[in-house]
Symmetry: C2
Subunit: 465 residues, 2 copies
């Protein structure tokens, strides 16, 4: 906990020294310094990264870093309630919003890279069942239970929107927890990741249809079919082309010895291009980034990180007896190979915490200050949780609770849905607040529950062994 | 050149497939996909990174990558002249502009990290002489030669602005060339880097004074003294505090074994904070980032990249004869230590090419289409080059031409100056174009000239050896 002390001192000194520096600042010189608009964003990025990193120290007490980042975001975003408005500009900075969005794209790209497509194919059928149950049950509960029961004054289209909002799992939170706890390659994790992608697609189809009903009053089966077809085509197409093309790409890129970031550039550009293409055909950019990661996982990069040392080690190894020889050859391999994941990691250190801290930051706690809204929010949250935990039952012979709770978080996709509903005029401000609270609560409750379930699972397998 | 072929095919397929994907895109589904505003920026980042990387292949023919990136930027930014407007939105995307600015901040931070402060202190006096000559000569030539001779219809304040614009060296271009050619630690390189920082400060003081004259008509010695004092205080203060504080920071950070990017976050946040503080006291953010790099260079990070393997290597080494033992211990050290530079590098792969490509992109070739403007531009350029090459004479017993030409490029700082002049109404549109052309030409001519001089120098020392 000494580290914590150092960091708190550093933070304190940094923040206290800001007003001192302000004394030095003079109006006209400030203008002369150039790019005035961007300099404050530099400050906000530094503030976000430092606070996120301090918050991630919850790992020391066994909680995933993402929970710390979310809670820290909620705290920083609501300092206004205590009369502290120093950080308010962060919430309206469009560049910070972009970096957060880029962060979730990079995260899904990374998760795609770390997901094993062969493993995922094994759980494909189960993931599909989990996804379908996890979309149908919350949609029906939202539309036909919460709607008529709690929102009787609203039209049927509003009820449909409540249902649609409950469908899409936010894979980011769950994936971070699985990643933080090192169980990204477990069966449960693979099912959840697969199902989350599928239910994103299903959710987007439902939302496209519901939006069409809200705007034109009705929608034909042709449009539904078309939206479905292009989503499936995109994901399957990317994966199939990737599987066939990967060896050629890998071969071509292995020939580049420049070490000037060619592989990094190729990888990240490919991820961003597929994110854009996904957007272009009406899917969320994160789906494209995930598909790009799946494709590139099959490409094996050689980066010749330090080929000279690797060659020297190999020469020594040749002269040695069997036992140290094997180890030295392993070391030589480590020196000459580097997976593209290692290259992406620092970018993810930079961008991903911005996404999670800002997700918390945008939570407005005062929306909870009405008893009625609070009750509505809690009931919607319970329904949201039940709808996904039930879906876990379709996962077969695995830890069903773990799969079910893994599907619970509704993050950015749910928020996008409800924002579209509000812009179409079918979601009121109170309902908006309630749904935002549901997104927060499902997001906040998932990391500790998953951590508990995973640790229990680990202890169980330890006891069996 | 096989790589080039692969990349061109990849680019071609990517660009050709865009309209095909457009067929899939349907209006309402596009809205549903979310964050519409950001998705196109993902595309532009990918396009910029890929084209920049293709352009950097000029390295294969012995030119520094930065020249390729700048020329590629000029080409892409002026495709409109050929009736191709596909890429026009890049020029007005404020997020791309921010990423470019962040890129130059990260670059100067990296250069600060790689600069050895002890080495720099050795060349401090020479750097100061070079900087002063390199500011005074172009300023006087601009104000008292070009002004009355070529711009007789303009007021004295306009002549002062021309002079001020010619003062500040853009250290980014030169540093990239030195970095690309691996001579960042030569005496010449250290003098140029030191002098560029000093003349940035001197240039900013001149500009602050000239701006004050333009707005209030006159300015007292008190303000000049104040602007100077805080700039010097900032740089010297950061360096002194850094030298004393570094061992403690290093010790504290070495205790963190999490491997979750704590050092990365600390380093980059520190760089951004100092960039912001520099801005706050009226200096360019890049000066703060450079100072932060100088400070952190003194901090020695241990990252325990793979401590288990390092221990295993050490154990094997113990049992071996002297010769392979030493090598193995070196290897073990490489496995357990990692400098903060390595952590920053992928971020720099991502951001720095955006800065250089966009510098080229923002050049409007049509501003050259008038004979009069072209002549004015060429004369200003010649004066700008002479003013700095003369400064090289103050560098003592080193390659004076190399130092002089190293100071030639006027980049973003010159552009900021002339934009302020235009906003104050003392710089006309023609003069603006001419100065922009000067910035381009000094920037474009420097990399090949420096590359030639450095290679000549290397051959000379090879011949002597």
């Amino acid at each position: 906990m000494k580290i914590l002390k150092y960091l708190v001192v550093f933070l304190f000194v940094s923040l206290v020294s800001l007003p001192v520096f302000n004394l030095f600042a003079s109006g006209d010189a400030g203008e002369v310094g150039g790019h005035t608009a961007f300099a404050s964003t530099f400050l906000w990025i530094a503030v976000i990264l430092i606070f996120a990193k301090v918050a991630s120290l919850v790992e020391k007490v066994g909680q995933p870093a993402v929970l710390g980042e979310l809670v820290m975001g909620v705290v920083l975003g609501n300092l206004g309630l205590l009369g502290i408005h120093f950080l308010d500009p962060i919430g309206t900075d469009s560049i910070i919003a972009f970096l957060a969005e880029l962060g979730v794209v990079v995260l899904l790209f990374q998760i795609g890279l770390e997901s094993n497509i062969t493993e995922m194919r094994k759980v494909g059928a189960k993931a599909f069942i989990v996804a379908v149950i996890g979309v149908v049950v919350p949609f029906l509960l939202g539309t036909y239970l919460i709607g008529p029961w709690l929102l009787p004054d609203f039209a049927f289209i509003t009820h449909l929107f409540v249902g649609a909002t409950l469908t899409a799992t936010s894979v980011g939170i769950t994936a971070r927890v699985f990643k933080d706890l090192g169980t990204l390659n477990s069966k449960e994790s693979q099912i959840v990741l697969g199902a989350a992608v599928i239910d994103d697609v299903l959710g987007l189809i439902i939302l496209a249809v519901v939006s069409a009903i809200a705007t034109v009053g009705a929608v034909g089966f042709g449009l539904i079919g078309w939206i479905t077809a292009k989503a499936v085509l995109f994901l399957v197409g990317a994966i199939v082309i990737g599987q066939f093309g990967a060896p050629y790409v890998g071969k071509a890129l292995s020939k580049i010895h420049t070490g000037h970031g060619m592989k990094f550039t190729f990888a990240i550009s490919f991820g961003l291009l597929l994110a854009y293409l996904a957007h272009l055909i009406g899917l969320a950019p994160i789906i494209g980034a995930f598909a790009a990661g799946l494709v590139l996982d099959a490409v094996h990069f050689k980066t010749f990180r330090n080929p000279k040392i690797a060659t020297e080690i190999d020469e020594i190894a040749e002269k040695l007896p069997e036992e140290p020889k094997g180890l030295l050859q392993k070391i030589s391999h480590e020196f000459s190979h580097k997976h593209v994941e290692d290259l992406i990691e620092p970018l993810s250190f930079f961008l991903v915490p911005i996404f999670f801290l800002m997700t918390g930051f945008n939570v407005k706690l005062e929306s909870l200050f009405s008893g009625e809204v609070l009750l509505l929010a809690l009931i919607i949250t319970v329904v949201a949780i039940i709808g996904k935990v039930v879906a876990g039952l379709g996962a077969g012979k695995v830890n069903k609770l773990l799969v079910g709770f893994g599907m619970v978080p509704r993050g950015e996709v749910g928020l996008i849905f409800v924002m579209i509903g509000r812009s179409l005029g079918v979601v009121s401000d109170q309902l908006f607040s309630a749904i935002v609270v549901m997104v927060i609560l499902t997001t906040l409750c998932t990391p500790p529950i998953l951590t508990y379930l995973i640790k229990k699972e680990k202890n169980k397998s330890l006891a069996q062994a």
